[in-house]
């Protein structure tokens, strides 16, 4: 869990003759630049995130009854959907108080639907395709990138596994205090409720976290803290939907890692790192599609593991 990289021996790097630019009869730079800048998947994804938020807002404001509730718990055309980490804390507490038997069938169905859906679609897909904080952070990331690139600010990184400490920690906090303490700091819940039910003082906390991320450590919340994201990662650890990497189309340009929001999931794109002809991204991958858009050789694509072997 600490290291997604394969322990197998890497494949030998491709010789120049086998590189895609040679096969296409171009120089490496020509090949790399021939690809039109595309934002296809980013645009689709942003539309989905914004569209879901708008649906949430309008469902309440205009009483549309399409997507009611908030990201903590909602009803899509009458079917319940429940936040898994919130549920986990609540279940931890209610297992000792006996409240657990009072949960409604709608709760279990809603939780089951979410778990099943993200187990197929890739857990952290939630992050880039649903989470409003992720989108907000994508925009503020640009400021962070500017500071690092132009003003040479140091980027502070931490060990990614501390998110597991937070994940267990917040459950324990809930368990011992008998309160859903995490909900008071949960970016997803806060932003979702703010959009739907109106703003409050709690936005100061969101602002604080964003400032910390811009000024000190990129994506601190998403990468190292957010236990909801961690839960989603666990749910999606075996998800068939992922990004597929085909070694023979790769030109080792690493443009994909530059745009990737969680670059470590693309560890196999470096020259001499890939251990198989085909790799699939792991549980941290948010399936955002930025790499797919950026790849000059088309080596990266969305795929359903198993199904693409059939075709």
């Amino acid at each position: 869990m600490f290291n997604p990289q394969s322990t197998k021996e890497p494949l030998p790097p491709k010789p120049v003759e086998a590189m895609p630019h040679t096969l296409a009869g171009m120089t490496f730079n020509e090949w790399r630049q021939k690809k039109q800048k595309s934002h296809k998947w980013r645009n689709i994804r942003w539309s989905v995130v914004i569209g879901l938020s708008v649906l949430f807002i309008l469902s309440f404001a205009l009483d549309l009854s399409i997507l009611e509730g908030s990201l903590s718990g909602s009803r899509l055309l009458g079917f319940y959907l429940i936040d898994p980490y919130n549920s986990l804390q609540m279940l931890a507490i209610s297992s000792t108080t006996g409240y657990i038997v009072h949960l409604t069938m709608n709760f279990w169905i809603g939780l089951g639907t979410i778990v099943l859906f993200y187990a197929i679609m890739g857990g952290r897909t939630y992050c880039s395709w649903v989470c409003p904080y992720h989108l907000l952070a994508e925009w503020t990331d640009k400021m962070r990138d500017l500071l690092v690139r132009k003003y040479k600010w140091k980027d502070h990184t931490f060990h990614r596994s501390i998110r597991y400490v937070f994940w267990i920690g917040f459950i324990l906090v809930a368990f011992f205090t008998k309160n859903l303490v995490f909900e008071d700091v949960n970016m997803v819940g806060i932003l979702s409720r703010t959009m739907i039910y109106g703003p409050g003082l709690i936005l100061l906390w969101v602002l604080g976290v964003i400032l910390f991320e811009v000024l000190y450590s990129k994506r601190f919340w998403c990468r190292y803290v957010c236990p909801l994201g961690t839960t989603m990662g666990m749910i999606g650890s075996v998800a068939p939907l992922s990004i597929k990497f085909e070694h023979d189309k790769c030109g080792y340009c690493r443009d994909c890692q530059t745009v990737c929001l969680v670059p470590h999931v693309l560890w196999f794109v470096q020259r001499g790192k890939a251990t198989q002809a085909v790799h699939y991204t792991g549980q941290d991958c948010t399936r955002c599609g930025l790499c797919v858009d950026s790849c000059p050789g088309g080596a990266l694509s969305y795929s359903f593991k198993g199904i693409d072997k059939l075709t």
């Binding site: 469902s59 903590s72 009803r75 319940y80 209610s94 920690g169 324990l172 303490v181 039910y197 709690i202």
Partner: protein
């Protein structure tokens, strides 16, 4: 991966992990301190939770803060707490002064929609089913009426969010004052579904004592008619009148006619509601009391309803009373229809909530909290009570049937509400 890098990695993890553990432990200690030592918290017990809320200690973690109850509420009575409420952040509560729960939704939708059951629907479902069974038994198999109404009514009545408490120091009725106008001003945004009217009156005499006395006399006459009541026809009757304080007693359901509670009544209400009455049996409280019954009819009939008139005419001495009553006439009594089965309520059932600012009241003695109460005579009545200095005054009395919905708080015309709802602190889930 080289051993050196691995080692660095591990050191990183331990360092960052330790920071995380310390900060989480600090949070736990902080929360525990505030809860245990400071005592109240955070979990503010001052909240009036939506209907059916389980005990606050379970509510606080069982609620996942999704806001579905907020969205489903047709009058938007529910709001989510802000971060200034600490760990209650995101949990639903009612600010009834701004918008009360007036049971507009008819089926406790916030409770039904709650996914985690912290708004517990089971208790209401059970109450509704019980009421239907009782209703069927009472009415026989072919009553041709819609029992759904009975179910809804029973569900509403089993709500226990809190209980209203009157402040006689500022209550207009307790001060002997009336009220004319729109209670909360032209800018007030709250809405309310005015309960059905008609049926039995719960009035009170505005008159002086002497008058009151004389009225009582009449009441006695009314008694004569009791037989009539037994027969059951009778619709009509009774209600009407507004009478008296008296009524504290006996509320029971008695369908049937009207009986009045009553003393004093008779006075006929001029106010509009009269009309409704007649039909149907309603439950009047009052049964117990006996007095007064007779007079009820008087009123009912006066105003118009054919049905009544007929039935009374046929075999009823009621008419006689009628006349007498009419004489009494104009009085303040005001009835409202508590009648669950009657047609009148059928119509009113469909009444939609409308802005309080569009409602205009003219009362010689302010009783808005009583007449606007969606539960009716089981929850609040005008009664003759002793005030602080031992004088008898007519003022609202909150009864055990109060659900804590807060409509009385919302419509109270005094600057600071003279009636407030105190939350039920603990409610066990069963």
């Amino acid at each position: 991966m080289s051993p050196k890098k691995l080692d660095l990695n591990r050191r990183d993890f331990l360092k960052a992990g330790a920071t995380a553990v310390v900060s989480l432990a600090a949070i736990t200690a902080g929360v525990t301190y505030v809860k245990k030592v400071v005592g109240k918290d955070i979990r503010s017990q001052e909240f009036l939770r939506p209907p059916g809320a389980v005990a606050e200690s379970d509510f606080i973690y069982g609620c996942i803060k999704c806001g579905l109850c907020v969205q489903i509420c047709p009058v938007q009575a529910i709001t989510l707490a802000g971060i200034s409420r600490g760990l209650s952040y995101g949990t639903p509560y009612l600010d009834v002064r701004q918008q009360a729960c007036d049971f507009s939704c008819d089926s406790l939708q916030c409770v039904e929609t709650c996914p985690t059951g912290v708004l517990d629907f089971k208790q209401f479902k059970a109450a509704g089913e019980k009421a239907i069974i009782a209703f069927e038994e009472e009415q026989g198999a072919h009553h041709g009426r819609n029992p759904f109404r009975v179910q809804i009514s029973a569900m509403k009545e089993s709500v226990k969010m809190g209980k209203a408490r009157l402040n006689p120091q500022t209550c207009l009725a307790a001060l002997g004052q009336g009220f004319t106008g729109t209670p909360r001003g032209e800018d007030f945004r709250g809405v309310n579904r005015t309960p059905a009217r008609g049926g039995q009156g719960r009035g009170y005499p505005l008159s002086h004592d002497e008058e009151y006395d004389s009225i009582q006399g009449e009441g006695d006459e009314g008694h004569l008619h009791e037989g009539h009541l037994d027969e059951g026809h009778g619709r009509g009757e009774g209600r009407g009148s507004g009478e008296g304080y008296g009524r504290g007693q006996g509320r029971g359901e008695g369908r049937g006619q009207g009986r009045g509670y009553g003393e004093g009544q008779g006075r006929g209400e001029g106010r509009g509601y009269g009309e409704g009455q007649g039909r149907g049996e309603g439950r009047s409280y009052g049964e117990g009391q006996g007095r007064g019954e007779g007079r009820g009819y008087g009123e009912g009939q006066g105003r118009g309803r054919d049905e009544n008139a007929d039935s009374l005419t046929e075999d009823n001495p009621g008419r006689h009373l009628d006349t007498e009553h009419t004489d009494q006439g104009e009085g303040p009594g005001r009835g409202y229809n508590d009648d669950r089965y009657g047609q009148e309520s059928e119509e009113s059932y469909q009444t939609k909530a409308s802005p309080v600012r569009e409602k205009y009241y003219e009362r010689q003695l302010c009783d808005l909290c009583v007449t606007e109460c969606p539960i009716g005579c089981k929850a609040i009545v005008m009664n003759k009570l002793k005030d602080g200095s031992g004088n008898s005054v007519i003022m609202p009395e909150v009864l055990d049937g109060c659900t804590g919905c807060g409509v009385c708080v919302m419509v109270c015309p005094t600057a600071e509400p003279s009636i407030i709802v105190e939350p039920i602190k603990e409610q066990a889930y069963v």
